[in-house]
Symmetry: C2
Subunit: 115 residues, 2 copies
Amino acid sequence: MTADHLSTTFAALADPTRRAILARLRSGEASVLELAEPFDMSLPAISKHLKVLERAGLISRSRDAQRRPCRIEAAPLKEAAKWMDRYRQFWEESFDRLDEYLEELKKKEKRHARK
Amino acid sequence: MTADHLSTTFAALADPTRRAILARLRSGEASVLELAEPFDMSLPAISKHLKVLERAGLISRSRDAQRRPCRIEAAPLKEAAKWMDRYRQFWEESFDRLDEYLEELKKKEKRHARK
């Protein structure tokens, strides 16, 4: 099995702590210490998660500053979202079916109310 | 670590064979035999992948017919796409930056051409 980009991205996202780290980074850059704060986790454990995110290209770490803040890198997310988009018709279709069903129920109720 | 829905979905998508199976199912239901055909894989190996997809709720298998065709279930993909959408601004921003950069390059070229 080759370590293709999409698989690496999805594997990195398949963890609630890593998704929470990305959620935190939506509001701006943060150092490892700042990222570790809300989690009941050791710094090495957080660093390990950051390494997975960094290897997947989902975050980058500044080399200039001493605190080496992390920031989101969007390219892999864009690629993953593009992949997802091919399936959009399926969830839109299933909502259409749900709409039809609810419409059907309403009609039935009206018929019952008239009786 | 709890096996939350999103993590299960992303973990199931983190494999090229499983994504290829979903891609095949976009054009309609298919039996295990039909799904196995394009892959150089044993039936048990394909069945294992199907079980991962089924457990993640990404496919369902009909109980009526003897061939038990598989079909895509969109709900987990919808949930995952919704999660992705929160990051859309990041990749749109980075494309804005790329646009600005290309605009800058064009201007420079024009200036050089005039000299």
